[in-house]
C-alpha cells in the first residue's frame, strides 16, 4: 500500500485521527413525519416497512424488508426538478446531477437561540453578514446550513408544530435566498425542519421562496438534518448523494459530514 497520495491522506485522517465522520441523518422509521399538504392535494407516502422474512418460514436464512416512502421523506436531498421553477433546467434530477456536486463544503449558521425563542424565526441576510464578520465569507459552491436544534424535538407533534394556520417552524427569509445565490453562489440550503422553507413560507410574496429560487437556479435542498451542532461554522465537507432514481425529484439520503478535529 502506497502512502502519501491524496486519498491515502484522507483515509489516514478518517482511520487514524484528524477527521471525524458525523452522521447528519435522522433514522427512517414509520413515525417520521412527512410534509403536510392540504388534504385535497396529493400526499407524500410516509415511511413504511413490511418484513419479507426474519429467519422464519418466509425465509429461514435471512432478515429483510420491503420499504415504501415518498422521495422527500426523512433526511433527504431536493433536486431542482422538484420545483416548477427548475423543471426545464439541465442536469436537474437525481439521475442526471453531476456526482461531484454531492460533495461540498458547509457553512453552519447557529440560529438555535433565536429559533428557541421564536418558532417562526427567519434567517436574514443581515444575520448571515454578521455571521460572516465572525467566521469569514461563505466560499462559493458551499452549503449554507441553518442550525436551529429543531431536530432535537423527538416528539413529532413538537417537530411539526402545526396550528390551525399551518406549521410554525424556522427557515430562511425570502430576501436571503436570492442573495445567497447571486452574491455567494451557494450550492444549496440545508436545515433541520421538515422542509427547507419556513413553516409559514406559503404566505411569502413568492410562495416557498427557498424552493422556488434555489431550484430555479439549479441549486439543491437538504432538509431534516440532525447533529448540526457537531459541525464547525466553516470547513466541514458534506457527502450528500441521493439514490439514482430516474428523473427523481429527490430521495432520502444518508448525509455525512467530514470534520477536521486537529
Amino acid at each position: 500500500m502506497t502512502t502519501g497520495g491524496l486519498l491515502n491522506q484522507l483515509m489516514g485522517g478518517i482511520l487514524g485521527s484528524g477527521i471525524q465522520v458525523v452522521d447528519l441523518t435522522m433514522t427512517l422509521q414509520p413515525d417520521v413525519p412527512t410534509i403536510v399538504m392540504p388534504p385535497e392535494f396529493g400526499q407524500s407516502w410516509p415511511f413504511r416497512m413490511e418484513e419479507i422474512s426474519r429467519y422464519d418460514h418466509r425465509g429461514p436464512f435471512c432478515y429483510w424488508n420491503n420499504l415504501s416512502c415518498g422521495e422527500h421523506t426523512g433526511t433527504h436531498f431536493d433536486a431542482p426538478i422538484h420545483w416548477v421553477s427548475g423543471k426545464d433546467l439541465p442536469e436537474n434530477a437525481t439521475d442526471t446531477i453531476p456526482v461531484e456536486k454531492f460533495l461540498a463544503h458547509a457553512c453552519v449558521v447557529d440560529c438555535s437561540a433565536p429559533a428557541a425563542a421564536d418558532p417562526d424565526y427567519l434567517l436574514t441576510q443581515e444575520a448571515v453578514e454578521d455571521w460572516e464578520a465572525a467566521n469569514g465569507k461563505i466560499p462559493p459552491r458551499s452549503w449554507l446550513l441553518m442550525r436551529t436544534d429543531w431536530s432535537l424535538k423527538r416528539d413529532p407533534v413538537a417537530y411539526m408544530n402545526m396550528a390551525e394556520d399551518g406549521a410554525h417552524t424556522p427557515g430562511p427569509h425570502e430576501d436571503l435566498i436570492p442573495w445567497l445565490i447571486e452574491e455567494r453562489d451557494v450550492i444549496g440550503f440545508g436545515c433541520e425542519a421538515v422542509g427547507t422553507d419556513a413553516g409559514q413560507a406559503g404566505h411569502a410574496n413568492v410562495p416557498y421562496p427557498c424552493h422556488y429560487h434555489m431550484h430555479g437556479n439549479n441549486r439543491f435542498g437538504l432538509p431534516a438534518l440532525t447533529n448540526l451542532d457537531a459541525l464547525p461554522p466553516q470547513g466541514a465537507v458534506l457527502i450528500t448523494p441521493p439514490l439514482k432514481i430516474r428523473q427523481g425529484s429527490g430521495s432520502p439520503a444518508r448525509v455525512l459530514a467530514l470534520v477536521e478535529t486537529t
Partner: protein, 413 residues
C-alpha cells in the same frame, strides 16, 4: 327479577381462562333463512303463499297444504309462555359451562308453538315477546323475554350470550379524528362501556373531533395508524388482551373514479386504510379477541366494521372508494368466519353518506354522525350482524335484492 350483573373483577391470575365453546351449530339450508332474519334483527318466518300458514321450524313444503312457495314474512312477535323448565344437566360443552339454562314453550301469536330460550323474568302463563337472535355459534335461535321488560333485562346472562352489550366492556375505536369517531366515543360512554380506547394517526395533525374526544372522561388516546404494521402491532401488544369490542371506523374518502380520475396514489391510500388496515387489525387483535370469547360475563364479543353503503354497489362518483370498501367487506366476511370459533360476532354496518366535508357536493339526505353511532351501539345491544344505516343504505339493500342492474344504472347522482 333479574339481578344487576356485577361489574367485572380483576382476574385471578392462576385460574385458567374459560375456553370459548359454541352451542350446536348445524342447520339445514332452510333453517339458514332464520339466520338471515336474525342477522338484521327481523322477526320473520316462512308464510305459505297458498294457505297463509306460518311455518316453524323452516321447511321445504307447507305443513298444511304441501305448497312449496314459502316466502319469509315479518310476523307478530308476541306470545304466551305455556311451560318453562330449567336445564341442570347437559352433555353439550357450551351449555355445561352455563348451567342452569332456562327454556320454555311459547304459544306464538303468529301460530306455531316454539321452544325458546327464556329470559329470567318470564313467568308461565304471562305474555312474552319473541325474537330471532344469533347465538354464539352465529346461528339463529328463538328467544323470549317479558312483554314488559324489567329494569335489568340487559343484564340477563342468557341474553348477554346472544348480544354484544357494551355495558362494562372495553372498546377500541380505531379513528378518533373524525366526527363519527367522536360520536362513537360518546355513544359507548352513554352505553356504560368500562373503558374506551381511541386511536389516532399522525399525531402532528389534530382535529376538532379528537380534541373533544380527549375531554371525555374514561377515554384513553393511543397512537394508531392502520397503514403502519408496526403501529398496529405495538398497540395490540398493549391492548390485545383488553379489547372486548373492536370498532374499525377507518375512513378515507376522496371523490373520483377510474376513468375520470386515474390517481394511483389516492386509490392506494384508500386500499391501504380500508382493506390492508382491516387486515393489519385482524391479524394482530383477532387472535387475542378470539381466545377471550368466553372470558367471564364480560369477555370479548364483537368486531364492528363501519363500511360504506357503496361497499355493496359501486357509486362511480366515489368509484375507487367504493371498490376499497367492497374489498374490506369481503375481508370482513373472512374475518367473520375466522372469529366464529371464539364466538366473536362481526357486525358489518353499511352507512349512507355522512354529513361531513367530503360529502359537501352530495345532496341530502346525509347522516349526522351521532345518529350513526347510536344505531351501531343499538345493533350491538340487539346482537345484529348486518346493519344498514340511513335511507340511502336501506334503499340500496332493498333495490339490490329486487334488481341489481336497475340500481347499477341509476346510482350515479
Amino acid at each position: 327479577m333479574t339481578a344487576p350483573l356485577p361489574p367485572p373483577r380483576k382476574k385471578d391470575p392462576v385460574e385458567r381462562t374459560r375456553q370459548p365453546t359454541l352451542p350446536p351449530g348445524n342447520r339445514s339450508r332452510e333453517a339458514q333463512g332464520l339466520t338471515a332474519m336474525a342477522a338484521v334483527g327481523r322477526f320473520a318466518l316462512q308464510v305459505c303463499a297458498g294457505c297463509r300458514q306460518v311455518q316453524y321450524p323452516p321447511r321445504q313444503v307447507c305443513a298444511h297444504c304441501l305448497g312449496d312457495d314459502l316466502p319469509w314474512r315479518d310476523v307478530a312477535a308476541g306470545g304466551r309462555l305455556l311451560a318453562e323448565t330449567n336445564v341442570h344437566a347437559a352433555n353439550d360443552l357450551f351449555f355445561r359451562d352455563r348451567l342452569p339454562w332456562r327454556l320454555g314453550l311459547v304459544q306464538s301469536d303468529a301460530g306455531p308453538s316454539v321452544v325458546a330460550h327464556l329470559a329470567e323474568d318470564c313467568r308461565q302463563g304471562e305474555r312474552v315477546r319473541l325474537s330471532l337472535d344469533l347465538d354464539r355459534s352465529g346461528h339463529a335461535v328463538m328467544n323470549a323475554q317479558p312483554e314488559e321488560p324489567g329494569p335489568n333485562l340487559e343484564d340477563d346472562v342468557q341474553l348477554r350470550e346472544m348480544t354484544m352489550n357494551p355495558k362494562d366492556r372495553r372498546v377500541l375505536i380505531v379513528n378518533g379524528k373524525t366526527a363519527l369517531g367522536l360520536a362513537l366515543a360518546q355513544a359507548f360512554k352513554t352505553a356504560g362501556a368500562r373503558e374506551i380506547f381511541v386511536g389516532h394517526a399522525e399525531p402532528w395533525k389534530t382535529s376538532p373531533a379528537l380534541e373533544a374526544v380527549r375531554k371525555i372522561d374514561g377515554v384513553t388516546l393511543f397512537p394508531l395508524d392502520v397503514t403502519d404494521t408496526d403501529s398496529v402491532q405495538e398497540l395490540a401488544s398493549v391492548l390485545g388482551g383488553k379489547v372486548e369490542i373492536m370498532v374499525n371506523n377507518s375512513y378515507h374518502l376522496r371523490p373520483g373514479g377510474a376513468v375520470d380520475r386515474m390517481d394511483m396514489n389516492l386509490s392506494r391510500e384508500e386500499m391501504d386504510i380500508h382493506y390492508f388496515g382491516l387486515l393489519r387489525l385482524a391479524g394482530t387483535f383477532g387472535p387475542a379477541m378470539r381466545g377471550r370469547g368466553a372470558d367471564g360475563d364480560h369477555g370479548a364479543c364483537a368486531w364492528v366494521n363501519v363500511l360504506s353503503a357503496y361497499a355493496q354497489i359501486n357509486n362511480p362518483t366515489f368509484g375507487t372508494y367504493s371498490a376499497s370498501q367492497a374489498a374490506a367487506r369481503s375481508l370482513a366476511q373472512c374475518l367473520r368466519a375466522e372469529l366464529a370459533p371464539g364466538g366473536i360476532r362481526v357486525l358489518n354496518t353499511f352507512v349512507g353518506p355522512l354529513d361531513d366535508e367530503w360529502h359537501q357536493m352530495v345532496p341530502p339526505p346525509k347522516l349526522p354522525p351521532n345518529m350513526v353511532a347510536g344505531r351501531i351501539v343499538d345493533a350491538l345491544k340487539k346482537g345484529l350482524e348486518d346493519l344498514a344505516v340511513g335511507a340511502v343504505a336501506e334503499e340500496i339493500a332493498e333495490r339490490l335484492a329486487e334488481n341489481p342492474k336497475e340500481i347499477e344504472r341509476e346510482i350515479k347522482s
